[in-house]
């Protein structure tokens, strides 16, 4: 297993139900992470103990969203970006969208 260096680690409690966790790792260059950076942005449904939304960036998909969680674990929607900051921005937009129709 390759060594991963945790570059960014932060968490944000939105409500009793939702929590966001942002983790970015520096990993050795490999086929799964050709840029040597593994990013994982998660919206967790704490009440139901399931991830509600995940954005990550592994090959062969590049940045993609697991949006219809927990029902469709393997359904991925490609994010039209290869930029980490843009991917994070889109993640936050999706979080706000989820919160808006659940409030």
């Amino acid at each position: 297993m390759t060594k991963a260096n945790l570059l960014l680690n932060s968490a944000f409690n939105i409500s009793e139900r939702y929590r966001v966790e942002l983790k970015v790792f520096e990993v050795s260059l490999n086929q799964k992470y050709p840029e040597g950076v593994k990013a994982r942005f998660i919206l967790i449904d704490v009440l139901n103990k399931v991830p509600r939304l995940i954005v990550d960036n592994h090959a062969p998909f590049g940045f993609h969203v697991h949006a219809n969680l927990p029902k469709e674990k393997n359904k991925r929607l490609r994010l039209e970006t290869s930029n980490y900051l843009e991917a994070l921005l889109k993640f936050w937009d999706l979080v706000k969208e989820i919160l808006s129709y659940e409030n």
């Binding site: 009793e16 970015v24 009440l47």
Partner: protein
């Protein structure tokens, strides 16, 4: 007794997301880690924190700190509450970063609730309210 607090701070979702983007930009550029302090939990609003943090949850945390129960069952006995309800509160506290579960081997595998670090107080940092009085309008 020295106070080792768990700090609760507040940041709006827009402020936190803007800060997270700034931090991401920084770590990608410098490759130097940025980690949220272990003793701090950030909530989106005072209202959501108060809605979440009932007296019963404070009591759970204080009891874990004082008695180190080895299982949810034991904790529920100490609190004189239904185990199912205590388990649910503990799951929520763990999900939001107040406590964690440690596997123990006392005959059979059980999960012992533990504080995320050895804190003995919760310090709530209410956001300061700033406002300005515009002299132009006031004077008119």
């Amino acid at each position: 007794m020295k106070i080792r607090p768990l700090k609760i701070t507040f940041e709006s979702i827009d402020d936190f997301s803007a800060r997270s983007r700034k931090e991401l930009k920084e770590v990608l550029k410098n490759r130097k880690p940025i980690a949220q302090p272990k003793d701090t939990l950030i909530w989106a609003s005072v209202e959501s924190y108060q809605q979440f943090m009932s007296d019963q949850k404070y009591t759970i945390i204080a009891t874990i700190h004082k008695y180190n129960p080895t299982s949810i069952y034991q904790l529920a006995k100490m609190l004189n509450r239904a185990q199912q309800n205590v388990a649910r509160d503990c799951e929520l506290l763990a999900g939001h970063g107040f406590i964690k579960f440690e596997e123990t081997e006392n005959g059979r595998k059980t999960k012992a609730p533990r504080l995320i670090f050895n804190y003995n107080a919760i310090e709530v940092h209410l956001p300061s309210v700033t406002y300005k009085v515009e002299f132009e309008k006031k004077a008119a």
